[in-house]
């Protein structure tokens, strides 16, 4: 029969789910330990939530799943959540903005159309957002939190790359483009086309030199940024203050022994970011990213709340995550009925329930199949005097038992 799965969608099979839950568990545990609280936003949001801030690029918005709901006669379109941060920002504004600080995290799916149908159109993210925390300690907090999750997942070769959206935007201002041109250039950069920037010669050779060294060089410590600052004393005030912020964060990371790479052009898609941007790479693939987005909440409700956050991409991480050996072999018990008589079925259910009550996972079977995946098999024959036979698959031995109490006793001996 033909595969009936919708194009671009994915099934998560039992093994995938074991990996998924592992990522989720590690992520949740870390977040809770750092004082973050879990939230969940709805799958449907209004489209205008994503257009209203003017921060998402037209090319990103043209890929959202938008449609008219059953009560959409007013023309108000809804979307399948295309992004994790904006809905959480909305949740914060709607419900929690009275709180000075809010540390929130979520595990969610996001939807974006992808033309070939070969990549996922539904993707899973583990994200954390920190509302109300001004720079620079919160920036460092989210970077370290993300790093801890990655380390605890056993991904040892992850690289951290840093960039700064404020710095890029200040740089763009130096070109003195018309608002329309500047918007176009921003869109190109957001889509990763940094060459557009190097090709666009400014009127000022100083700026060209600055761009060449920023895009051409890659720093490994805050010293790189200090060098940039010293080489371009005439840079604009905006540029200098962004650079200052970048230096502060880099210095903190240096002091905390967190290694990184400064690569201004490595990061794209930082649509709403205003400050530090970062991403994690493992085996050449992007497994997560985040940054500071101080103007998002103000654009949404005019309240001046700074914020930063990150998301880890569960789908990418799942691909490389080693699967822990299933525990079923060590503790699983199969309760097998020899025949399908009402009496035997009833006894099987009773045995399984007692086993579960005693803390043992117990599965039922009435097919009589030969099973080797279980630590124990309890055969219910229904015949006196010993109506149960226990088979121990590890020790390869059999034992008779006359009562459920005796079964539990045998199991507790092990």
């Amino acid at each position: 029969m033909k595969n009936q799965k919708c194009k671009g969608m994915q099934d998560l099979l039992p093994e995938d789910m074991l990996r998924f839950r592992r990522i989720e568990d590690v992520f949740r545990t870390c977040c809770l330990n750092w004082g973050y609280q879990e939230v969940r936003t709805p799958t449907l949001e209004y489209l205008y939530l994503f257009t209203a801030t003017g921060t998402l690029t037209p090319s990103m918005l043209s890929k959202v799943y938008s449609f008219l709901d059953w009560d959409g006669w007013s023309g108000e379109r809804v979307v399948l959540r295309p992004d994790g941060t904006i809905p959480v920002a909305r949740l914060y504004i709607d419900n929690l903005s009275g709180q000075e600080l809010a540390r929130l995290f979520y595990v969610t799916n996001i939807f974006a159309f992808e033309g070939t149908g070969k990549e996922n159109r539904e993707r899973w993210q583990c994200g954390a957002e920190f509302f109300g925390g001004a720079k620079s300690a919160p920036d460092v907090e989210i970077i370290l939190l993300a790093k801890q999750v990655i380390r605890r997942l056993g991904i040892s070769n992850a690289r951290l790359q840093l960039s700064h959206a404020g710095l890029v935007k200040a740089l763009l201002k130096e070109f003195k483009l018309s608002p329309g041109e500047e918007a176009k250039m921003t869109n190109r950069i957001l889509e990763g086309n940094w060459q557009a920037l190097t090709k666009a010669k400014s009127t000022n050779p100083e700026i060209d030199r600055l761009i060449a060294s920023l895009l051409g060089l890659k720093g490994k410590s805050s010293s790189f940024l200090h060098n940039i600052r010293a080489s371009f004393p005439k840079a604009s005030q905006d540029f200098k203050s962004s650079l200052e912020d970048f230096i502060n964060i880099a210095t903190l990371l240096d002091n905390l022994g967190c290694s990184y790479e400064i690569d201004i052009a490595a990061i794209h898609g930082f649509e709403y970011y205003t400050g530090i941007c970062f991403q994690f790479l493992a085996a050449g693939e992007k497994i997560g990213g985040g940054g500071r987005y101080d103007s998002l909440v103000p654009l949404m409700n005019e309240k001046d709340i700074p914020a930063c956050g990150f998301a880890l991409y569960a789908d990418t991480i799942m691909k490389s995550l080693p699967l822990e050996k299933e525990k079923k072999d060590e503790s699983g018990i199969l309760v097998q009925g020899k025949e399908l008589t009402p009496e035997i079925v009833k006894t099987c259910f009773a045995v399984a329930e007692s086993l579960r009550d005693a803390g043992h996972p117990a599965e039922l079977d009435f097919t009589g199949r030969e099973e080797s995946d279980y630590r124990w098999v309890v055969l219910v024959s229904g015949k006196e005097p010993s109506q149960f036979v226990l088979t121990d698959s590890i020790q390869r031995r059999r034992r008779d038992a006359v009562s459920i109490a005796e079964i539990l006793e045998v199991l507790s001996e092990e």
Partner: protein, 480 residues
């Protein structure tokens, strides 16, 4: 029954505005389609010169879809409908081969003077909720997103987009002969020219990649030109004319929408019987905004298809439309605040399900059995063409026809059967057209006549209630 042999080439040709120039072109390059001319009753044509070439005549808007799905290898239609399709389905199977060098006018984004916008930059900077009305909803949405408009709502209409601003829309995306012509329409400012409307030769990607179309393409060769520059410049060729004083539109307490097209004559007679004196709603003198002797009543003439949505949105309090279009709207938006007040018993049609006379089924139950027992006969999914996609969707669901695929059409749906669709859900008056096209009716979904619809919100509004009741009573008097 179906022509799937390799080497057989199918061409989709336009009705309407491009029929004459396209017919001239085809005559010039001698494709052998003598039957393709104005007022033709024929939909299917066979080339007298190339035995492997056949053609079918479609509403222009249907052509990009028909070519993209591969029912036709080649097609000719306006760039506006091609882009309307491509902007939504860029990865689709539609390829623009070349411009055919004829066409007229352009698609413009226009603003109502009442909105007070004179440039595009203002649109993206402001936080207003803009209502954009258009026959081209995909182009309108892409325009709004590209401009990073903060908040907007798109109202798709079947036609008459220029009639909506200023009171019922802030912006419109519509066809105009020139910017100056648009500016000459009361209260409209052209903001941007989106694209010129020229005829294009289009092809199905797979046909172009795998099938030998060279003989036919060579015929077109002498007529093909490179793609004309699509202007994305902000062309305001009429800015001088905008400065003069304009008659400004006046808000009325109660707004009534009346239909144009076939329904206009019987509606006009009905209103006369009801004793409502109108100026500008007769065959002799027809205006977009007729006037009545009641100074609190605003009247506008729009497409009946668009009325329920417009009433739902409070643009009109009352409207005369068809029950078919009301159902189409309510099936899509069950919570819509639109209500039927009473039927007017004219323009009565039956909404029916029809199949080709060759199909061995007499009713919908037999069709279902046929689909289940011999899926190969029809070739699942069942393809259903209809102007009423929501009515059709509900009907097919209710009757457990499974699987099915809906093909939205913009009129002349009878031409789709049997080769491009298996079933048609359409309105019939006499059934004569169906006879001509060898179709048989297998079910009557419902009967539909003109009806008066109202906004529930207006009926409940304390400021409108009295006048709504007065007008409704007046209209009731016109019933036979």
């Amino acid at each position: 029954m179906k022509d799937y042999q390799a080497g057989y080439i199918k061409l989709a040709l336009p009705k309407g505005r491009f029929l004459s120039p396209t017919a001239n072109l085809l005559a010039e390059i001698d494709l052998g389609f003598e039957g393709y001319r104005d007022k033709t009753r024929q939909y299917r044509l066979r080339s007298t010169r190339y035995p492997s070439l056949s053609a079918k005549i479609f509403q222009e808007r249907d052509i990009p879809i028909q070519v993209a799905v591969g029912n036709y290898d080649l097609g000719i239609c306006g760039l506006d409908w091609i882009e309307e399709f491509l902007v939504k389905y860029p990865a689709g199977a539609l390829v623009k081969v070349a411009s055919l060098n004829y066409g007229e006018g352009s698609i413009y984004v226009v603003a109502s003077t009442q909105v007070g916008i004179t440039s595009l930059n203002e649109l993206s900077a402001r936080r207003n909720d803009y209502r954009i009305v258009s026959e081209y909803p995909n182009l309108a949405e892409a325009f709004a997103l590209n401009l990073r408009m903060r908040r907007f709502r798109i109202f798709p209409v079947w036609g008459d987009a220029e009639a909506y601003p200023p009171e019922n829309a802030d912006l419109a995306v519509l066809w105009g002969k020139s910017g100056a012509r648009i500016a000459a329409i009361q209260d409209l400012i052209p903001l941007k020219k989106l694209l010129p409307v020229t005829a294009f030769l289009i092809a199905n990607r797979e046909s172009l990649e795998n099938k030998d179309l060279s003989q036919i393409l060579m015929c077109f060769d002498s007529k093909l030109t490179a793609e004309p520059q699509i202007s994305i410049e902000n062309e305001l060729d009429s800015s001088e004319e905008l400065k003069g004083p304009r008659p400004s539109w006046q808000a009325k307490e109660i707004n009534l929408a009346l239909p144009d097209g076939h329904q206009q004559a019987p509606t006009s007679q009905f209103l006369k019987r009801a004793g409502l004196v109108l100026h500008g709603y007769s065959e002799e003198a027809s205006s977009r905004r007729p006037t009545a002797d009641l100074d609190w009543l605003g009247i506008k003439v729009v497409r009946p298809q668009d009325m329920p949505l417009q009433v739902a949105n409070g643009n009109f309090d009352l409207a005369i439309t068809g029950e078919d279009w009301l159902r189409e709207h309510l099936y899509r938006f069950p919570s819509s605040p639109v209500k039927k007040l009473f039927a007017l018993h004219f323009s009565t049609v039956r909404i029916v399900a029809a199949v080709s006379q060759e199909m061995p089924v007499a009713d919908i139950d037999e069709l279902r059995s046929l689909v289940q027992s011999s899926p190969d006969y029809i070739g699942a999914p069942v393809k259903v063409a209809s102007e009423y996609i929501n009515v059709a969707d509900k009907y097919l669901r209710d009757n457990h026809i499974n699987p099915y695929k809906l093909i939205p059409t913009w009129g002349a749906g009878e031409a789709f059967l049997p080769e491009d669709a298996d079933m048609l859900i359409d309105n019939v008056q006499t059934g004569k057209t169906f006879q001509q096209h060898k179709l048989k009716i297998i079910d009557v979904l419902f009967r539909s006549s003109a009806c008066l619809i109202a906004s529930k919100d207006s009926l409940a509004s304390s400021s409108k209630k009295e006048r709504m009741e007065f007008l409704t009573q007046e209209l009731r008097a016109g019933l036979l």
